[in-house]
Each structure stands twice: as C-alpha cells, then as structure tokens.
Symmetry: C2
Subunit: 366 residues, 2 copies
Amino acid sequence: MDSEMVKGRLKKLNKLMKKSGIDALVLTVAENVSFFTGFNGHDSWAIIKGTKVTLVTDSRYTEQAQKECLCCKIVQQDKGIAKATGEILNKLDSVKIVGVENRSSMQMFRTLKKHTKARVKASDSLAEKVRREKDSKEQLCISKAAKIAWKALDKALEQLRIGITESEWTGIVELEIRKLNSVISFDTIIAFGANGSLPHYQPGNRKLKKNDYILIDFGAKYKGYHSDLTRCFAVGKPSAFYRKAYDTVYRAQQEAVKNVRAGVKLSDLDSIARKVIADASLPVYGHGTGHGVGLEIHEAPMISKSSKDKLRAGDVVTIEPGIYMPGKLGIRIEDDVLVTETGCRVLSKDDKFGFSVPGLQTLIIT
Amino acid sequence: MDSEMVKGRLKKLNKLMKKSGIDALVLTVAENVSFFTGFNGHDSWAIIKGTKVTLVTDSRYTEQAQKECLCCKIVQQDKGIAKATGEILNKLDSVKIVGVENRSSMQMFRTLKKHTKARVKASDSLAEKVRREKDSKEQLCISKAAKIAWKALDKALEQLRIGITESEWTGIVELEIRKLNSVISFDTIIAFGANGSLPHYQPGNRKLKKNDYILIDFGAKYKGYHSDLTRCFAVGKPSAFYRKAYDTVYRAQQEAVKNVRAGVKLSDLDSIARKVIADASLPVYGHGTGHGVGLEIHEAPMISKSSKDKLRAGDVVTIEPGIYMPGKLGIRIEDDVLVTETGCRVLSKDDKFGFSVPGLQTLIIT
C-alpha cells in the first residue's frame, strides 16, 4: 500500500473523526486495520491520530507487520492488546476523547477504558464508511477475485462424477482455488438436491446422483478482497418445475441488476427482485436480496426491506435472490455488481466459462 | 444432543447465573449457543432462563435449527437479532436482570439494552466456564478430530512433490480432510523453509525445494470439536543446526507434557517448556506454550507466563513450544492433551502414521 493511498484514506477518516468529536480512534476490526495499515494478520489493532497510525500487535505477527506496514509505527505487545493500547494512548499528545469501534467486544472496551486516561466512547462505523466507496483498484481486485473463482469452478466441474460427496467436491473446488494461489472467501456452500433449500448449508456426505441438482455458493480472495458467487446446475434432465423455478430466480436477479443505479432505495431494489418471484406464485426468500462485498464478505450496504439507505456510486453489492422449498429444492443466483451513476457493471461477469449465460446449465456426466 | 446432557449443562450454568445475580442469560457466542442448544449454524443467539432455552435465529437457519435443536424453542426473527431478543426477554416472566456475554459487541449490547425493559449487564464468561471441563464424549470427539487430521496428512504427504507450492499442498491437505467428511479447524498454516518463522503464516506460492523444511499447523473438526496439531519435516538431508533446534523443541514439548497434571500452575508449565529452549541458548518463542481447545480453537485455559490459573482435570490443552529465527527457520511441535488428576493423556497421539515418534522425520521425495 503506497503512502499516497494511505494519506487519502486517512484524510477521509480524520474528517469523520472530527465530526464525531474524537481525538483518536482505535480500530479493532481486522479489515479496518488492514485498510488503513496494509497489515493482513489478525489479533492486531490500529490507533489513528491525525496522520499518525500505530499498529498494536504481538510477537506472532511482528515479522509479518514489518513486511506489510510501511506507513505506520509497529508496537509489539505482550500484556494483552486492550491494556497495551490504553498505555500507548496515554503517551499520545492531546488525546482527550478516544473512539473505539462499536463492533469491539464489551470485554475489550472495558479493559481499554480501565487503562486509558482519556474519555473512551464507542464509535459508529467510521472506517466502514470510508471503505464503502470502492476505488478503481479495489473494483479490479473484486473482479479478479471473481475470475479466480470461475476458473476454479471450471476446473472442479471437470472432476465432478456421479457418487462424489458434497464434501469431497467442496475440497476439490477449494484446492483449485489454492492452486491459483488464492484462498476461499468464506465457508463454501455446496448442496446437492434438496439440500440447497438451506441457504447456509454445510456440505456433508450426500452423494451426487445421476439426475440431480447442484447449488454452489462460493468465492475467492484477491489481495484481501472477496468475491461471492452462486450458481445452480442440473445433472441430467431437470424437472419442469425445477426449470420453472430456476428461470424465475434468474429473471428476479436480472430484473434487480437492471435496476441497480446510484440513488435507488435499497428497500425498493429488494422489492423488485421479490416481486418477480411472488408474481410467479413461488415462495419468496427470507434473506436479503444482497449485501456489500469488499474486504469483508458482508459489509454495508445491506439490500433488504428494512434498509433505509440508498445505493451510491462505488458500492459493490451482491444480487442474490433465491427460491427455497424444504425437502424439494433450493435455487439461488448471485453476482457481484459495481454501482455507477447511470447503472451498474457486473464485476463477476464471466465471458470465458459461460457461467453467466442465461438459462439453466445442465451437466452431462458420464 | 440428548435432553439429559442439556439438563446437566444447564444445571451448571444456572448455578453460575444465580451467583452472578442474573435471571436470564443471552448467549451470543456461536460455540456457547451450540453447546447449550445443539445448533451448528451462525448468527443466532440463545436465551437461557432456568431450564428453558430459546434459540433466536433467522430464515436462513430455521430449517437447520428445526433438525438440530430438539430441546429448545426456536424463534425466527427478521427485525435484527438484538431487537428481537430484547422483545422476547420482555415477554418472559420475572426477568429483572439480564446478563449478556461480554464477548458481544458494544453495538449489539446497546441495541439489546434499548429494547429490553429489564436491567441488562455484561456477563463474564459463564458458558465458557461450563464448557472448560470436557466430558468423556467431548474428549473422544477431540481425539477423533486429531485422527482425521493425521489420516489426511498421511494421504497428503503421498502427494508431496518437489516444486509444489505451499498453497497447492495446503489445498491437498484440506481436500483430504474433506474426503473424510470433515472440515478444517482453522486456516491451515503450511510454511516451507524459513517461512516457518512466522507463527501465523499464510501459505503462498513458495515452491518446495530438494533440500527443504516443512512446517504444518492444522486440524480437523469432529462434531464441532477441534484438533490443533503442528509437525515439522525435513525434505532431504537437514542441516545440523536445524536438527539441533528440532531436538530442542521436541524436548521442550515432551518436558511440558510430562509436567501436565491437575493443580499445576499454568505459568509454571509455561516456564518449564521455555527453560529447555533457553538452556540450549536458542531463542525463546514469543507466543504462549498452549491453550485450551474444544468447540473453539482457542479457549480457556491459556498457558502463558501471565496466566494466574491452574490446570484442572478435564481441561484439554495444546502444548506447542517453538523456535523462530527470521530468515533462517521456524519449528513448532504441537499436541492436544487431556489433563487428569495424576497426569495427562495425549489425545492426539498417533500410533498408526508415526507422526508422534521422537526425532525429526525426513522425507525422501523422488
């Protein structure tokens, strides 16, 4: 991370800090720490005071931090991170009010408070606000993260065979991601047949049958940025009902994508996708229609009926409606989409492997 | 999870709740929720009021919860979990003081507080206290989790070749774990050569050489319980210095294991392992000597110099001293050990594959 980039990010954060009336901010969320320091490890915090950034870490990560964090001071602590951070804050000039991210645990917050002379208060998601608008480099990272995932899926599909378990095929998909020197975005969901009706299914020992259905919800990471993708396949000849349901989900997703544009109400976008499914007299999904994706797999904004906000240019969101019928089927289609002033760009569009073509892909496995 | 088991666990928890002066307890930590409900999903909370348990979840998990949670009431919410939990608490009889786990975020705590009529306070790790003593079924799960890991490692070693990247071999280890219908315990650490000096290394595209060193820190899960294991191998002929360092780490680990027994001070046990390394004039590791392992990969007790507590019968802990010399080498040996009144039992002992034999294993790869 070059120093100009850090400066730009800090400038935005400092502005929000000033507005919140805090003199220093303690970042405890790993992705926020990473965004402002370049550090990719865990269990480390960052103290922001104007343009000065201090990374508080421990001996497990010191060597890594020295390689990754070129623009900040690194402090190795061994007395507990909250206590150590409190003591560092005490040595900083003119810090009267300290903000601590409100996603920190109560426990950490209280320990920090105990060891800090300044007034400590829980702070709203300031770093997340800066992170929400993705610049062109970040957009490219998400797009590359999607490309890696598609490439891995293509390779993994070649290794699909009747009788393979969900669990083993999950391992194969993940190995293909590893071969591309990447890592998974989140716990891969691979569900055969009716198992797809559990939106957060954990792959098990269900075996693939001759006539079957596959749902895969997965992603890869590139430079810390996530892709989050879902596709469904039919093995052999799909039933007419499955095909109808699939086409409905596809239309719902396309309708939502078509309506993505800066200024659109998140709750309106959510309704647009749901309406397509309701109009087909099929059961409407219980989860949201999508969520922001970036350094975190789920981040602002959330596309749901209770969202009060609007889409903004620079948001990258998933669009992922579904149909779930327990014991029967589960279908979801998901892409990652960049919001622009005039519409959107599908960052996860795939020209090479055909995973973005309309219509249900059926696999013939011999 | 049978109802007798849940009853026994609740009895212990209720006792601690009474001592803390709380009428109901909100569990927000996934592993605590799982321990008292049997639910293995995420983003769900449990309300404990005497022997009554309520799982608060959302539509993504309702079907799964219905299958997994036979002893508790399931509530599907769609208004935000903290708000929903607050409203459920308001309907319970004689709840004047509610405890919320202090590992919950500030944000969640405040939202819950806002929507609850009762007094809400942050509660110390009560559920973790009940979880600390592992019963025989839990011990067996950890032991099985270790067996799965060893079996996978054995298979993965057969697929090792000169030129393979850390990342690809990591994928192979993880695929072998998947083939056994299990999942990884945590992000697998596989480091070739000097990369082992970073205790929390992330596998990259470093290729295996003809004369090289491998560090693998990994584990598998069985029924939610983790194994956490580290081994080092030499590829080709190791240097005399590496061999000396390896033998020192091995002696440190064995010396610590020999001294594990209920009643031993955690800080003393920590010193015992460190002393072996210091006496050999080699650099002493910065991390702790071990940690509890169970439903979480890191749980109580922590074996470190600052620990105030003692080992107790029923604790399952890792013993994992190491030597780290940046740019030169990194060695760690780790097993999972059950503490008994008279000593310990190494749950991760492996008779079949020879990963527990003394002395450095050297691999001849053709």
